[in-house]
Amino acid sequence: QAHEVLATPGVRKFAREEGVNITQVHGTGNHGKVTKEDVLAFKTGGSQAGT
């Protein structure tokens, strides 16, 4: 569930608009919080969950 991921409402919306499943994104923020940059990195084939 997207709302269970540590990410602000704005970043969750950004991920939806970019077509990224935020639950798959590795968060680099505080306590694993997903940032906008994390979403973009995932989209361009960067980080994966669990890596």
């Binding site: 997207a2 709302h3 269970e4 540590l6 990410a7 602000t8 409402p9 969750r12 919306k13 939806r16 608009e17 077509g19 505080n30 306590h31 919080k33």
Partner: protein
């Protein structure tokens, strides 16, 4: 032309003008859709006409009357007079101001408003029964927002003296006595309000506590104030029957010991819950399925089993709250406009306008323990807050619940003056995945009630300033 033969085409049809429906209509219009909204009653729905707004207006009047009648404020003597007819007409003016505002918003957003009752004749067509005619409308997309109505108990049918919240809000004078069946937030808010106006109130609740969904420690403070007004509370009690006479009505119930009791009053107010308005809409003909609880089945965008019909608010699963309906309305409108919006929230605040106010958001302590194992709890009393004491309002506390491991805030519970406003900061904290540290490091203005958010976070971190850690 034969009435009903012609079918008018509309882009987006919104059925219901409550806080879900009218917000959905506005957002759809903002996104370039041509929108038609139909409602059988007044714009604004239950919330504006016979719910949130009128109840808060009466609560506010009762609070002022209480303060004037027996000022609890040291050194201030007052003499109060109550003109309830004036209170009622003022309340009505508040309602009219707010519903007038909705009308203006509809006009401003070029939304066509129809007064009538809609039902589906085909998956993409409704018939709207208006005052003098009926007309068919074919829609591209439809948002169903028909809301809910008070539940009527078979054993206590509504009548002249057995009433719902709607009639209770519109009584033309203060009753001498009232029995309230159902001590949820509606029953408690109205019961406390009438008690302040001078009504002898008795609450009959089936569960083991009034306001059972809320933190027990919070409820205790409300109960204490209810007792001050001589409100009798029967818990684990089952209402059985009523007998009406010209002069009064008698409710018979079994108390927690299984003993039968009866109590007579001017009115019996039944507030045991609300039922979704999903009947007489022809939903089945439109291919719209219900859940086994009688609610409309929807996906994460609010789409029903008919891909061009969305449903929001009290007719879909989740808390029956105005702010949830509005949120869902925006999601549905955005989905219709092709946006990838979904229902995606971490929490919804719930507020009771009791005295003192209660507000809650996110997980309770027990729920958080189950989810996270170890939790951190920070509780800060109003009695240690300078603003609260200077307001002569030192009853209450702010409690924050966090995941102990990460410090991420997952719940908050407030009882006390302005709890309804203070809860907003915790809602944001939870949505932002803020930690106790984030709250504690944010400078809060002094002296304010809002400071207690920071102080509670500090307690949760074991770094309390204004209370001594045990």
């Amino acid at each position: 032309m034969v009435v009903g033969e012609f079918s008018e085409e509309v882009d987006v049809l919104v059925i219901g003008g409550g806080p879900g429906g009218y917000v959905a209509a506005i957002r759809a219009a903002q996104l370039g859709k041509s929108v038609t909204l139909v409602d059988k009653d007044e714009l604004g729905g239950v919330c504006l006409n016979r719910g949130c707004i009128p109840s808060k207006a009466l609560i506010s009047a009762a609070h002022h009357y209480e303060a004037a009648k027996e000022s609890a404020f040291p050194g201030i003597a007052t003499k109060a007079e109550l003109d309830y007819a004036k209170v009622q007409s003022w309340k009505q003016s508040v309602v009219e101001k707010m519903t007038g505002g909705v009308k203006t918003l509809m006009k401003g957003n070029k939304i066509k408003v129809l007064a009538g009752e809609a039902f589906f004749t085909k998956p993409n067509e409704v018939r709207i029964m208006m005052e003098h005619e009926s007309e068919r409308f074919t829609f591209q997309d439809c948002i169903l927002a028909t809301g809910s109505r008070p539940i009527e108990l078979k054993s206590l049918p509504f009548g002249k003296r057995v009433i719902s919240s709607t009639e209770a809000l519109n009584l033309d004078k203060v009753p001498d006595s009232m029995v309230i069946v159902g001590g949820g937030y509606i029953g408690t808010e109205l019961g406390q309000t009438f008690a302040k106006f001078g009504t002898k109130v008795t609450i009959v609740e089936g569960l083991d506590s009034i306001l059972a969904a809320f933190d027990k420690q919070m409820v205790r403070l409300v109960e204490r104030n209810l007792k001050k007004y001589d409100v009798a509370i029967h818990t684990k009690a089952m209402a059985k029957s009523v007998a009406e006479t010209d002069k009064d009505v008698t409710l018979t119930f079994t108390d927690k010991d299984g003993q039968e009791q009866s109590v007579s009053a001017d009115y019996v107010l039944v507030t045991v819950g609300r039922r979704p308005n999903t009947e007489e809409l022809g939903l089945a003909d439109a291919g719209i399925q219900l859940t086994d609880k009688g609610l409309v089945q929807v996906d994460s965008q609010g789409r029903t089993t008919n891909p061009h019909v969305y449903a929001i608010g009290d007719i879909v699963p989740g808390a029956a709250l105005a702010h949830k309906a509005s949120y869902e309305g925006k999601v549905a409108a955005e989905a219709i406009a092709g946006h990838p919006s979904i229902v995606d929230y971490r929490c919804i605040p719930a507020v009771v306008f009791s005295d003192p106010e209660m507000a809650s958001v996110g997980l309770s302590e027990d729920e958080a323990k189950k989810e996270y194992g170890e939790i951190a709890v920070g509780r800060f009393p109003f009695a240690a807050n300078g603003r609260a004491v200077s307001l002569n309002a030192d009853a209450g506390f702010v409690k924050v619940v966090a995941d102990k491991n990460s410090g991420v805030v997952v719940g908050a519970h407030i009882v006390g003056m302005e709890a309804s406003n203070m809860i907003a900061e915790f809602g944001l904290a939870i949505e932002m995945s803020a930690t106790l540290e984030d709250l504690a490091l944010t400078i809060h203005a002094h002296p304010t009630l809002g400071e207690m958010v920071m102080e509670a976070a500090e307690v949760g971190l074991g770094q309390a300033i204004h209370v001594v850690s045990k």
